[in-house]
Subunit: 560 residues, 2 copies
């Protein structure tokens, strides 16, 4: 990978302003010339890590743990991570903070660009690690969890640099008090809030971790990364990369540390409630996210959890394309993304098309056929679906389908597919069930994994009402409306907005419904239980530092 | 008062960028030509309000209450405010929200400028109300609580408009997916967070209320103002002014409402914990502020409470000037301001001056003399000190002095002065006590009212250490260091900054230590228990709205 050009941050900031499509990286790094060899080399590097002790430059090593299993091989990775006292981690972070806060923010931002560069250098090695801990396909690990996540990190860095740039540094101030003109010299400084804790999820750690990490670092806060105990390696490599860049700059590597733990002995709440914790970034379940939001104080919390991703079908120009778009979202990474669709609300009398009304039965059949077009073809399934991060997911999906079947109809039962390259891979194909709104208790929460609830509503207005009620209650990250009636569509958009939700309309074709573009798409509005933070808006940066000030009588008061 | 010029907001935004001294208003509105007559007329208007039913345009009137007494006359104001169900207030705010959020932000900002204009029109009437509810002098009510507070409101409006201006509105986005170039039209909108609750304090309501009110309104959130039950009239007049401006614009007056209550039946917690409350702005005690911060969730909270305002004496160029500056801060509005100094830390061996070391005894004497120079002259005392808002303050000050006297020495006992114009005014002159750090429990919290603790420390480094330990524990809003040694002073500034505190150095002369300039001084850093919010930084605005988005295939995809 060639190093990032010098104007990378400027270009990112420009894209943030125009919201144009831009990336600091190759569109498909895994298809660039030489990528095959580089991927093969990276795989060897990854495999050499298995069964080893993972080395990090941080203190207070107490013991070693490692709970990871590859969803592709079904075997333990056997990597042993250092476990440190929570107090020891914070003590090291406090010491590192004294150094890091003194580094001028312009240099901190440069170092953050170097971190992005170094993570990009190691893209394929991290991709293999990410694949074997999250279950993502290798290509998703290279792009979605690789360059796209780095772009979101660079976006956060661009926002941070812009916010820091807007903080004044000094002023000569003069004002009349009675008969005297008072002259003061004033100075300001963006003072980092403190120590940041970044809690990452099991299935897609980098996408939220890179922005949080870089936003904290740029604004002067050391970071303790707390990965999910079953999905550590990606973040361990990212932390080691940060530590190497910091050490090369003559700075304490402990500006970034890893807090590894085990499922049986989690340290998350200790980290969040520690008196030295000043900022929490959390990705995970809505329940734990709500706990973090209400227990982090006096630390500030930035959360992304999950909501109800709704699809409302009013009328469509081309039913097979719409069915295919929904099916792709259901299949993509086995619906383990925060942007995977779950509930499809439609009129029970059917959906209008250019060829007339298509019955609800036929819409359901089109959706099932579109899913089958993926899952019945192992090569396509493997490329799109990858594996499931947790072995518990298939059982949960089966249970959800059975419960829904008891009150509605199972249109497609969940199953497995045989991965052509990894025969032991944990796989799970989507369940599609048809219910009516009386079954709301079954679909009104996120069911993590590939389950589509087709909700048959009274009519299209009711479909919109039902979707909005569920979205208002639980939030949403990526919802969709399909309508060929401009007026109806616009009214729907306004209602989503009023509910604090973003919405995508009539999207079909090669761009997955799940795709959110760095520098252009605001990801999560921050107005609902689906998360209080947004990638990336100014609120994502503003609280991570505050302005401190000094005033004193001017040395040379000059002339009034 | 002449209306504000059309470029007022632009000028405010320019001052925010340069941090220069600027005001939208006359320096001393109470000394402008014609001010005497206008003040006399306004006094008649104010007096005509006494004993009346206060009219507001808001629903669900349940009963009327009024607990106010004038600290100048010692008599009840007898004004009866409407009391509404908390649910009824929120229901009206919800309805108003539907209209207000649809008003384009540019127009909302214009309406906010009109509100500032209308409050300025009514400056003298509100000043009389403010005087007889807070105890401030009439001139402070006109300036500090009048034009200065309006400037801080305009500052918040400038920040809000700048933040809204930075939100993109639309973009044509195109990106290659495989062989297809996808073209999307994207739209964005700054979506208001919800309903704001603004809780104001008894002694200085406007200074924090105007910025919070205008920041909420500009970003599209209706506001419920909850005044302190013993200090309602200022905010009641402000709310009525807002309602009149809104009605004149054809908008629901209930975009701004008043939630009056009584000391025996407070509605504050009900408002904060109401499910429709989305934003809380709180000014008041640190204890209640901490409760608000940790109970407001999922609403966001902006607080300003109180901290330990410290003065560290290392060395001084002119002791009488320094003593006078400290004494003025102790006397100004009887030390009922969040910027009033409280603890004076000095070396027990004395303070260095150009004429050599001055003993601690002599420094204490200079301070006492400087206080006496105010309190022993009723006209000067009246102009500077005004009255005490709460009749409980003198007793608390006496108790604090007695407690400190038991372990240290009372240098000046608190007393009263006879107000030349208002013989029944509640007054309280400052207590000055000398202690050593073993008495820390007595001075480590804010003692609301005029008490100075002179803390005799081992040496000047210890004085700085002691001050910083107290500031770190409780926060500070306005702290001061005096030193003629540049190196020592700079090290002290850096230590205040590291503690998340702002500091003023070597200030003497006609500008009171308490003065914080709108557009220039960041008031409260937001990094301590003294408040999580700052007047005004970007974090004060960022969370009050979020960005919602819509994406759809481009109507005219154009050429790739």
């Amino acid at each position: 990978m060639s190093p990032l050009p010098a104007d990378t941050l400027d270009r990112a900031q420009q894209a943030i302003r125009t919201r144009e499509s831009w990336s600091a990286f190759a569109e498909r790094p895994d298809r660039e010339p030489g990528a095959d060899e580089a991927l093969a080399t990276a795989r060897v590097t990854y495999e050499s890590t298995l069964g080893s002790e993972f080395v990090l430059d941080q203190p207070t090593e107490r013991m070693r743990v490692g709970d990871e299993m590859s969803p592709y091989t079904g075997r333990p990775l056997g990597i042993a991570y250092p476990v440190c006292d929570v107090d020891g981690l914070f003590a090291a972070a406090r010491a590192a903070r004294e150094v890091w806060r003194e580094v001028p923010w312009q240099r901190r931002v440069q170092i953050c660009v170097r971190i992005i560069d170094a993570l990009h250098e190691r893209l394929f090695e991290i991709a293999h690690a990410n694949m074997h801990t999250t279950g993502q396909s290798l290509s998703m690990s290279c792009v979605g969890a690789g360059t796209n996540a780095l772009d979101r990190g660079l976006e956060a860095l661009g926002y941070a640099a812009a916010a820091l740039e807007r903080v004044p540094t000094q002023a000569a101030w003069r004002k009349q008090f009675g008969r005297t003109e008072v002259h003061l010299d004033k100075r300001w400084r963006a003072e980092p809030r403190g120590i940041g804790v970044v809690i990452t999820c099991a299935s897609f750690p980098t996408w939220n971790a890179y922005p949080a990490l870089l936003a904290d670092l740029a604004t002067g806060n050391p970071v303790i990364v707390k990965p999910h105990p079953t999905s550590v390696l990606t973040m361990a490599l990212a932390v080691r990369t940060c530590q190497e860049v910091l050490a090369a700059e003559g700075l304490p590597p402990t500006v970034v540390q890893l807090a590894a733990d085990t499922a049986g002995d989690l340290v998350t709440t200790q980290l969040v409630e520690h008196p030295d914790c000043a900022i929490v970034d959390f990705t995970g379940s809505p329940a734990f996210g709500a706990w973090v939001e209400s227990h982090a104080h006096p630390a500030i919390a930035f959360t992304e959890t999950a909501g109800i991703n709704a699809v409302v079908l009013h009328s469509v120009a081309d039913l097979p394309s719409v069915a295919s778009a929904i099916a792709t979202s259901l299949c993509l990474f086995t619906a383990q993304m925060c942007t995977s669709v779950q509930n499809v609300y439609l009129p029970r009398d059917g959906v209008t098309t250019p060829d007339g009304l298509v019955s609800a039965d036929d819409v359901e059949t089109a959706l099932v056929d579109a899913v089958r077009a993926v899952v019945d073809h192992p090569t396509r399934a493997a490329a799109l679906m990858g594996a499931v991060q947790s072995r518990e997911t298939p059982a949960r999906v089966r249970a959800a389908a059975e419960q829904a079947g008891a009150v509605g109809r199972v249109l497609l039962a969940p199953s497995t597919y045989l991965h052509p390259e990894w025969p032991d891979a944990w796989t799970c194909t989507p369940a599609v069930v048809s219910v009516d709104p009386s079954a709301r208790a079954l679909y009104a929460d996120e069911c993590f994994g590939p389950v589509a609830f087709v909700v048959r509503c009274t009519d299209s207005d009711d479909a919109l009402d039902q979707a909005l009620a569920d979205v208002a209650a639980r939030g949403t990250i990526a919802s969709h409306v399909y309508s060929t009636d401009d007026e109806w569509l616009e009214a729907g958009v306004q209602r989503f907005w009023r509910a604090g939700a973003s919405v995508t309309c009539n999207l079909t074709g090669p761009m997955p419904l799940n795709f959110a573009a760095a520098y252009s798409d605001f990801h999560v509005t921050g107005l609902s239980p689906a998360g209080n933070a947004c990638l990336t808006d100014e609120a994502y940066i503003a609280g991570r530092f505050r302005v401190v000030q000094e005033r004193r009588p001017a040395r040379d008061p000059g002339q009034p």
